[in-house]
């Protein structure tokens, strides 16, 4: 049954009623009976079987141990009957040459004292000492640790001089080895140790900082790693830095538990705690550690991943990493509970009053316990509180994630920070650094618009999705050529071009008539007359009348148009293309592409003609006449002969004026007649205008890519100037 709001109110009213009144006491009793009525405390006396099984579990072991010791001692006594003698003398000394008859049974030290030096002539020690006296060393051998067991004095007062630890040669070489291993894993950014965290969408926090992809250490920094850093500093005689960075183990005593004295002495020194997170470090020490690591990276020659910095994370980077990609997660494993269905704890915190070890960890646990979250990060909440910086807030210093002394509320991802502003070392604060690499971006950023100022690196999937959209668009408009953006050299300068589409042919008479008819129908203004080509410029009557209107010339490039008309045509084309794309998107339920159409700039024209700076001669990158077998000798473009050049038989079909737009051979990008035929309008960087590419009425030298512009500054209609628009995708 669904609960109505009235039910909730009645619920609340029951809670708020005063149970000291007699009327309400009856209410309480009935409710408690209904809830707890059937429950009973089971006080039972254990049966004999239970008792015995209880005994067996605890006391049998003690009994067995006692029996074992007794039997070994007994057996030892049997084996060495003359045990007492062998304690002081080797066994074969029994074979003395002269034994006094009195002392046949018992032989003790005292009898040796009583013996005269004459009575026993020899006290030979046998040569093979394979029966050695039993000593304490044999019974209790020393444990040799491979890793140096160096106790760093923490109990010395600050006024006294600090006794720096002294490393032997073996310890120093072991430290160097460990340093090498750490550096190797950092340079490779191994998946076991460093998790890649990709920002899937544009995330801006309130202050305007945009998040970048980064790599995060999977576990908190451990004792052994911090030790390598400290010993490395020591070996370089940086004693002042050592004192700053060294952890202050006295802080363990502030916890107020009985076991902290042992922790104070052993937590950082003993090798059993190597994989536990380092605590009691100050903020300055942590920053030194990060600088040390980034210094090592900068010196090494194998920085292939282009690691730039290693630092502590910002608070929003930490939350993004802890959430595992899902904004609604309360805990790194989801939530809302701290125990799973089997009752096992999922983090190391302070679960129950007076029982801190109910979850398996009295203080800290090893850095890679419990399950990792979706990004592969261990112990984001609980264990140790991790240092973060707050971005442009009043107190920049804080921690996130809660520690082993915090209740369940404080180990949530978005809980308030119990350690805000704490700079001093504490036994429940550790750290976890992040690694920032150089951006691997700007592949298709230009196609989507001017997004170069954002610090987002596209994921590969996003790149592929965008690529698909662009290729779909290209498939639908096959009369355009795609030019990938990039850098190329122009006159000893590096130029950058964003990707764009360029029309493969110049604008034809047919295209332009569409535009003019659209103006006539839709606007019904004088604009159609204004933008129409000026038929008086030809000088030949037939062309004046028929060039623009006759169907035979529909595929010829439009000329004799003003600059305004060309720009108006581009605007019209933009509107039409956006409408087409929107219709397509609505049909297929995809995102609509928005475009921008314009005249090309000088550099874009050069990029299109010369294939991004590969050629610097003619656009078709060869001689004026064709070199191939089939079309040998034929002209490659439409231009004007110099009077000195001899004509060829094959040139009989040379056109008088312009040629159809698909004639001659295209360049490597598939663009036709970018050199010759009609000159194409371009915009220069200064703001001036012109038309490049040479025309049917100009000699061949004007067809070179870097030739002079004979039409500079001309905006009036000219019979040699046409145009070719470019398209840029905005979204």
């Amino acid at each position: 049954m669904d609960k109505t709001p009235l039910d909730d109110l009645l619920n609340q009213a029951f809670l708020d009623s005063d149970f000291d009144k007699t009327e309400n006491q009856q209410l309480l009793n009935t409710v408690s009976e209904s809830v707890l009525g059937e429950a009973k405390i089971a006080l039972y006396k254990p049966s004999i079987f239970h008792r015995i099984s209880g005994l067996l579990s605890n006391k049998v072991i003690i009994l067995l141990v006692a029996i074992a010791t007794i039997t070994t001692a007994w057996l030892g006594l049997i084996a060495n009957e003359d045990m007492e003698s062998s304690l002081y003398l080797p066994r074969e000394s029994i074979y003395l040459t002269a034994i006094p008859e009195e002392m046949d049974e018992v032989q003790t030290l005292s009898h040796i004292d009583r013996l005269d030096s004459k009575s026993f002539k020899l006290l030979k020690r046998p040569k093979n000492n394979f029966i050695k006296p039993v000593s304490a060393e044999l019974l209790f051998p020393k444990i040799n640790y491979e890793i140096p067991y160096i106790k760093i004095d923490s109990s010395i007062a600050e006024e006294e001089e600090y006794r720096f630890p002294v490393l032997t040669a073996e310890q120093a070489s072991a430290n160097q080895k460990r340093k090498g291993i750490m550096l190797k894993s950092l340079l490779k950014l191994e998946k076991d140790k460093y998790a890649e965290i990709n920002v899937s969408k544009q995330i801006k926090n309130k202050q305007g900082y945009v998040m970048q992809n980064f790599y995060m250490r999977t576990s908190e920094v451990t004792n052994i790693e911090y030790k390598t850093f400290l010993f490395d500093i020591l070996l370089k005689y940086r004693k002042a830095d050592f004192l700053i960075a060294k952890p202050k183990q006295d802080e363990w005593l502030s916890l107020g538990s009985s076991q902290t004295e042992a922790m104070k002495d052993l937590y950082f020194s003993h090798p059993a705690y190597d994989d536990y997170p380092v605590v009691n470090v100050s903020r300055a020490g942590v920053e030194m550690y990060c600088q040390w690591l980034s210094g090592l990276v900068a010196k090494s020659m194998r920085n292939k991943k282009k690691i730039e910095t290693i630092r502590l994370p910002y608070s929003f980077e930490w939350t993004y990493a802890a959430e595992g990609g899902n904004e609604k997660n309360q805990y790194p494993w989801g939530g809302p509970y701290v125990r799973n269905s089997a009752g096992c704890f999922l983090a190391n915190y302070h679960p129950v009053k007076d029982q801190a070890n109910a979850d398996g960890g009295l203080f800290t646990v090893t850095a890679e316990t419990y399950n990792p979250n979706d990004f592969g990060l261990y112990n984001m909440s609980g264990n140790v509180a991790e240092m973060v910086t707050y971005y442009q807030e009043d107190t920049l210093i804080g921690t996130k994630g809660g520690g082993f002394n915090n209740a369940a509320h404080f180990i949530q991802i978005n809980s308030p920070d119990p350690n805000k502003g704490v700079k001093e070392p504490k036994p429940y604060i550790g750290f976890r650094p992040i690694v920032m690499c150089k951006d691997r971006l700007n592949r298709l950023v230009g196609v989507l618009g001017d997004n170069r100022n954002l610090h987002i690196a596209h994921r590969e999937e996003q790149f592929k999705a965008n690529e698909k959209r662009v290729i779909d668009f290209w498939d639908r408009h096959q009369n355009y050529a795609l030019i990938d953006g990039g850098e190329f050299q122009l006159n000893d300068n590096q130029q950058y071009v964003k990707p764009f589409f360029i029309q493969k042919t110049e604008v034809t008479n047919a295209n332009f008539t569409e535009f003019i008819e659209f103006l006539e129908e839709q606007t019904k203004t004088v604009l159609s007359q204004k933008f129409a080509p000026d038929g008086t410029q030809w000088g030949i009557k037939a062309f004046n009348r028929h060039y623009f209107t006759h169907p035979a010339y529909q595929r010829y490039p439009v000329v004799n148009i003003s600059r305004e008309a060309a720009i108006a045509y581009c605007n019209w084309l933009e509107v039409i293309m956006n409408a087409i794309e929107q219709g397509y998107a609505e049909q297929n339920e995809t995102k609509a592409i928005q475009v921008k159409v314009s005249l090309p700039s000088h550099i874009e024209w050069i990029a299109a003609a010369g294939d991004m700076g590969k050629y610097n001669d003619y656009p078709w990158h060869s001689t004026l006449r064709n070199n191939g077998k089939k079309y040998e000798g034929q002209l490659m473009a439409n231009f004007k002969y110099d009077s000195k050049e001899e004509s060829n038989e094959l040139d009989k079909d040379k056109p008088n004026v312009t040629a159809p737009v698909y004639s001659y051979w295209p360049n490597t990008l598939g663009i036709y007649n970018i050199g010759g035929n009609a000159a194409e309008m371009v915009n220069y960087e200064d703001g001036s205008i012109g038309a490049k590419g040479g025309s049917w009425n100009k000699p061949a030298k004007f067809m070179l890519i870097h030739a002079e512009d004979p039409f500079k500054g001309i905006s009036e209609p000219n019979k040699e100037i046409g145009f070719r628009p470019i398209i840029r995708i905005v979204q």
């Binding site: 109110l9 619920n11 009213a13 708020d16 209410l27 129950v352």
Partner: protein, 185 residues
């Protein structure tokens, strides 16, 4: 039974906790989850707190029957629940939780709450007759009709009908009061 428990609380505190926990924790948890939809972690915290409180106070109080002890434990539990829910609703997360004992909470006026509708409901409930109020409150906590009939001197069969009618009456009263407030303010 209670004497033995007293003995155990003096000698072996952990065992007493264990016994009480085994007996009473599950029904308390189910009650809290079904009625209040509180997080499990919070509920376990509250259950532990109330058990510890009971053991502290065990020797001072003289319980005659087990039912008395149950009622007392339930009362402690409800008090902690009330505070936890209030803290949640007001979202005063920076505040430190102060453990109030049962006696100190008498000073707080239980009728004070931020919810104006609640205040109106309580006023309406006070105006009703005794048995009607009892019926409404007990039914909201999930008590069966047979047990209610023991308190209220009405036949069991009629209680369902009475309950439905009472609910409608209270709803209408609340709505009329709301309209009055809207027209005034």
């Amino acid at each position: 039974m209670i004497k033995e428990l007293k003995h155990i609380t003096k000698t072996d505190r952990d065992k007493a906790v264990e016994l009480i926990f085994k007996a009473y924790s599950k029904p308390l948890q189910q009650y809290a989850v079904n009625q209040w939809q509180v997080e499990e972690d919070l509920i376990w915290d509250i259950i532990y707190k109330s058990i510890y409180k009971l053991i502290e106070v065990f020797n001072d109080k003289d319980f005659e029957h087990e039912a008395q002890m149950k009622a007392y434990l339930f009362r402690i539990f409800i008090n902690y629940l009330k505070n936890a829910i209030r803290d949640k609703n007001t979202k005063q997360q920076g505040m430190i939780q102060v453990e109030l004992s049962v006696n100190e909470e008498k000073k707080e006026n239980p009728n004070e709450s931020n919810n104006p509708q609640l205040m109106q409901l309580i006023l309406i409930l006070d105006e009703l007759e005794d048995w009607k109020r009892v019926l409404l409150l007990l039914k909201s906590q999930g008590v069966s009709y047979s047990e209610i009939a023991k308190l209220v001197n009405k036949p069991e069969k009629n209680l369902k009908v009475y309950y439905g009618r009472l609910k409608e009456e209270v709803k209408q009263r609340l709505e009329s009061v709301n309209e009055k407030n809207k027209s005034h303010g």
